[in-house]
């Protein structure tokens, strides 16, 4: 049986870990609230843009546009959003698995990475990492999304990559986060089907083609921005859950250790008493 002092030391160490995880949980909760607020504020913009683009595509029919057809290059750009910090349960590994366990061939993938956890994992696996924007994930701005969007779009236009994907964790609610792989370019024309019913005529100034030239990159940026803020919310949600579990486990361990400690204390008292009695009876 472990000595009283060992058990006590163990208990104290678990206790301080429990305090840390509890504090981290509280911090994540606050960050989650903030991230959720931001996600909600950006939703109207995102929805409207989506509507506009769907309608624009529906009206333009089957036109051939450079953003609507895949490039000839077999390479696929994947923007992967993970986090800079760990201790968030399966959050990072789930989003990384989307790429490593997906149907992509390693040679065909070009990674645009956001989040140092993802960077480490892809380096280890030997993926081609084209760019890293890990510093934006702490508090993503719309201008960051524009910047990233411009980079991937350039690669698409110059024919370096044929398709662009976004791998991120969608935020459904506080406890449900879904790792999601989304095709950004070419724009998936199946989204158009539902909008076909709407036949309000629309003029484009400048021409339809040019309007698409301008609107699609904006759509791309807003999808990336949406991905970023949802990822931040999911990260904090995942960390909150992980830390909640850790705190509960710590409490459980503390109660087990307290029991053990008391048993050991009682044992040592009993032993001492037996020794005293034995000593006293030896004298008499």
């Amino acid at each position: 049986m472990a000595s009283m002092r060992d058990i006590k030391r163990r208990k104290e160490s678990v206790q301080s870990t429990g305090q840390i995880t509890k504090a981290m949980k509280l911090v994540s909760t606050v960050k989650l609230q903030k991230a959720r607020g931001r996600a909600e504020r950006s939703k109207p913009y995102f929805d409207r843009l989506y509507e506009t683009i769907v309608q624009a595509l529906a009206r333009s029919g089957n036109i051939q546009h450079k953003y609507l057809t895949a490039g000839s290059s077999p390479k696929k750009a994947i923007i992967v959003i993970s986090s800079n910090r760990g201790l968030a349960g399966g959050y990072n590994s789930n989003v990384i698995k989307l790429v490593t366990r997906g149907e992509f061939k390693k040679e065909d993938v070009v990674i645009y990475n956001i989040g140092t956890k993802g960077l480490d994992a892809f380096k280890r696996e030997g993926y081609e990492i084209k760019a890293d924007y890990s510093d934006v994930i702490e508090s993503p701005l719309f201008s960051d999304a524009i910047h990233i969007g411009a980079d991937v779009l350039k690669a698409f236009i110059e024919g370096e990559v044929g398709e662009i994907y976004l791998a991120y964790t969608a935020f459904k609610n506080t406890v449900t986060h879904v790792p999601t792989l989304r095709q950004l370019l070419p724009v998936d024309s199946s989204i158009v089907e539902d909008a076909m019913a709407d036949h309000t005529p629309m003029n484009y100034e400048p021409g339809e083609d040019e309007a698409l030239n301008i609107i699609i990159p904006k759509y791309l940026n807003s999808l990336i921005y949406d991905g970023l803020i949802e990822a931040v919310a999911s990260e904090n949600g995942a960390r909150m859950q992980a830390m909640d579990n850790a705190t509960n486990n710590a409490e459980e361990m503390i109660s087990d250790l307290t029991l053990l400690y008391n048993r050991a204390r009682q044992g040592s008292i009993t032993q001492e008493l037996t020794e005293i009695i034995a000593g006293a009876s030896a004298i008499s």
Binding site: R38, Y45, T52, F142, I146, N203, Y204, A211, I215
Partner: protein, 136 residues
């Protein structure tokens, strides 16, 4: 007679900037300045950095600096999706002045040939001028 007002929504990525019934709006598009009244033909157009003037009912006019984005105009509703839009009181005049000087310098002595930097500086200059004008 149809209603003379129409619904205006100005939405940026981080907030719903403006929402309400208005009589007329004016803004700069890539093809020139536009004034929109109710019952306009459907039109989608892209924006130039400039001033958005919102004429509300009862002759009240509000101004905002509007940079990059596009507008969807339908007879009864107008939706402006702006990447950046600011009320005058949110603009820092000193910063705008500095940005203007910086942009002008860059246009006069381009660091490298190729035109990308000049284009970017021209856009920055337009934004700075829009910000400065709105405060005048």
């Amino acid at each position: 007679m149809a209603d003379k007002n129409f619904r205006l929504e100005v939405i940026s990525p981080d907030r719903v900037f403006y929402e309400g019934d208005v009589e007329m709006i004016e803004f700069s598009s890539t093809d020139g300045d536009l004034g929109i009244l109710a019952g306009h033909v459907p039109l989608t157009t892209t924006l130039e950095p400039g001033i958005l003037k919102i004429h509300e009912q009862g002759g009240v006019m509000k101004k905002a600096a509007l940079h990059s984005g596009f507008v969807t105009i339908l007879p009864k509703t107008v939706t402006i999706l702006a990447e950046v839009v600011e009320w005058p009181e949110e603009i820092d005049i000193n910063r705008a002045n500095e940005a203007r000087i910086r942009a002008e310098r860059r246009i006069k002595s381009p660091a490298e040939e190729g035109g990308v930097d000049v284009l970017r500086a021209e856009l920055a200059l337009k934004r700075a001028i829009a910000r400065i004008n709105i405060l005048k």
